[in-house]
């Protein structure tokens, strides 16, 4: 390190980024309802409370259903779109791809409000299903962005070779294309899952009477005595995210090693 100022800046940056997250476990184990120093005794009762709150369990269940469904749906749609946009030329391609990618930059509040207006106009009841629709809409652009990279780095002659050796178009896709883009697919599912799991605005507007985890947490922040439990919940979520990302990275690296490519980065 030749520049001490840069070093200090980097340290400060990391502190700013991660210190608040470090506070989560500290207060999650603190025996006191007020989030302030000095700390009181060590306790695990907030975690126990977490597991004995039915409303929280329901919110977690809703969120998991939504996150799993929308990540799989978004990735499936992403596979079709990415394959089409990397393999074929068709009229209006740039425009169509642009429209699909638009939710990436569109303010989420606008997406949420317009979806709400449309759904109410159509007389569709607001349930977890409507949240899934909204989340598919915002996850698909991410899925496409990830899968485009996977598909475009696939040598086209690999598919031609399999076809040339007597396979059908479909079995070629299954035997060659799918295994080779699998790391991209896993990445896409995990990223979509993460986006959906902590998405607030759309869930808030479209969930009706079935709260998701973020909307539940938000609703509990009004009650000071619930805050320590939220801290405990946050601790669990951070732990889960770290585990999930580690798994994703493991699969990504294994995929690269299996195909003999060189590692060019990735999310971690």
């Amino acid at each position: 390190m030749k520049f001490p100022a840069l070093r200090a800046y980097a340290l400060f940056y990391l502190l700013f980024l991660y210190a608040p997250i470090l506070l989560l476990p500290i207060f999650a184990f603190n025996d006191g309802t007020i989030i302030a120093f000095p700390l009181k005794d060590f306790t695990t009762k907030w975690f126990e409370q977490m597991f004995t709150t039915p409303a929280l369990a329901q919110a977690v269940k809703n969120s998991l259903i939504i996150a799993v469904s929308s990540s799989i749906l978004a990735t499936t749609l992403g596979i079709f779109a990415a394959r089409a946009s990397t393999r074929f030329a068709f009229p209006g391609k740039a425009g169509i791809v642009g429209l699909i990618m638009l939710p990436l930059v569109l303010p989420e509040i606008i997406v949420a409000v317009s979806l709400l207006v449309v759904l109410l106009g159509l007389g569709i009841k607001l349930t977890t299903f409507t949240v899934i629709l909204g989340h598919v809409l915002i996850c698909t652009p991410y899925a496409i962005a990830i899968l485009n990279t996977a598909f475009s780095s696939l040598d086209r002659s690999l598919e031609e070779a399999a076809y040339d050796l007597g396979e059908t178009k479909w079995s070629t896709f299954r035997l060659i294309t799918l295994p080779l883009v699998m790391p991209g697919i896993i990445s896409s599912v995990l990223i979509s899952f993460t986006i959906s799991l902590d998405e607030f605005i759309i869930a808030f507007f479209l969930a009706g009477s079935e709260p998701t985890l973020p909307t539940y947490i938000f609703s509990q922040l009004r009650f000071p005595k619930q805050i320590p439990m939220i801290m405990a919940l946050g601790t669990v979520l951070v732990l889960m995210s770290v585990i999930l990302l580690t798994i994703a990275e493991y699969f990504r690296r294994r995929g690269i090693a299996k195909t003999g490519g060189t590692d060019t980065g990735g999310f971690l």
């Binding site: 040598d155 002659s157 070779a161 050796l165 007597g166 060659i176 080779l180 195909t259 003999g260």
Partner: protein
């Protein structure tokens, strides 16, 4: 080579990509068991033509026939052809044996027989015992062999090779050229090779189609192509050729009289003008090796012209001289095999050059 039955027939094949006319009326026959090359600069349509045989590329009009059957409605996976791709297209997630045996997935034979077929194919390309290796861990030359084994295991009627050697270094390439020729003789399958490397085409092929801008400019065996190119363009693309402006002064029963750019009046045979000649302005061409620099005491067998050495390029076994012949307005290139005890000439040396009217080619 005795005339063999046709294996691939192109009948006035046209191919358009939008407004771009990629193939402009290809009519040609590739014979069974032949090592056939499509040679041309990039963008000449040679790869497109190869892909119309494989079925990867449809044609806009005309017909492609393989072994007497129309291929218009036969998709690539049902054609009796297999391809070795420029990138080799080795499936990176499969082992060597799985790659080679990929085409046997739909084969009704038993697993044990398939394993034997894979082993035989690997042995044929010199990769015996490599079956369990991961495909991505192979070197370029080994990948090439796996691609060959994979394509040949289905015993296709035609093996298509799309610039298969272009990714290899020079030494490996020359070794693989010889191996491919041997392999082709061994299996007796029709090979169709696409290449932009004229030397490779000359070394390997029974016949070569030289392509420019979507058309076949000349289709001949390597020797005819080299000795009697039918246009200046073909002559220039294949090897080195000196060109001098010439005038046709007379034509009579199989002979053409020309005034060859400073070399004087020459009579040549009509066969030495493979392209169309319609009197008047023309060009004569001659290969560097058809000229010989005469040393002290040597005499020309045929004609002799004095000149001055202008440039010397030493290649070890060969030396290229650029010599300005007296009366000729441009230097000509002469290649001489270096002989022990005979010194390489210096720039500026006065010398005599022997040449023969029989080695000239006349172009429009």
């Amino acid at each position: 080579m005795t005339t063999r039955p046709p294996m691939i027939e192109f009948q006035d094949v046209h191919k358009y990509y939008g407004d771009y006319h990629a193939l402009r009326g290809i009519t040609a026959t590739i014979r069974a068991g032949e090592f056939f090359s499509l040679l041309g600069p990039s963008g000449c349509g040679k790869t497109t033509l190869l892909r119309t045989i494989a079925g990867f590329e449809g044609i806009s009009s005309g017909a492609v026939m393989i072994d007497g059957k129309h291929m218009a409605h036969v998709p690539a996976n049902k054609r009796p052809t297999n391809m070795v791709f420029q990138s080799y297209a080795i499936f990176p997630h499969l082992s060597v044996a799985e790659n080679v045996g990929f085409g046997l997935r739909r084969d009704p034979r038993s697993a044990a027989e398939k394993i034997r077929a894979v082993d035989e194919a690997l042995e044929m390309v010199g990769l015996k015992g490599y079956g369990n290796r991961a495909a991505h861990a192979l070197s370029g030359g080994q990948r090439q062999r796996v691609a060959l084994a994979r394509a040949l295991i289905l015993k296709p009627k035609v093996l298509l090779l799309d610039e298969p050697l272009s990714a290899l270094d020079k030494k490996m390439r020359e070794q693989m050229q010889v191996e491919l020729i041997k392999l082709q003789r061994q299996v007796g399958i029709t090979f169709v090779l696409v290449t932009h490397d004229q030397e490779e085409a000359l070394v390997m092929s029974d016949r070569i189609a030289v392509m420019f801008e979507g058309e076949i400019a000349q289709l001949d065996d390597p020797e005819t192509l080299y000795r009697r190119p039918n246009s200046r363009r073909v002559a220039d693309f294949i090897g080195v050729m000196n060109f001098l402006p010439a005038k046709v002064t007379g034509e009579s029963n199989g002979h053409i009289s020309i005034e060859a750019g400073g070399l004087g009046q020459v009579d040549i045979e009509a066969a030495q003008a493979p392209g169309k000649i319609s009197g008047g302005e023309a060009w004569v061409g001659f290969r560097p090796e058809t000229l010989t620099i005469l040393y002290e005491g040597q005499t020309a067998m045929d004609r002799e012209t004095p000149g001055t050495v202008e440039e010397v390029v030493y290649y070890g076994d060969m030396t290229y001289y650029d010599v300005r012949l007296d009366g000729v307005d441009r230097p000509v290139r002469i290649s001489m095999r270096n002989v022990f005890g005979r010194p390489v000439l210096d720039i500026g040396t006065r010398t005599r050059v022997a040449w023969s009217p029989g080695a000239l080619v006349l172009f429009r």
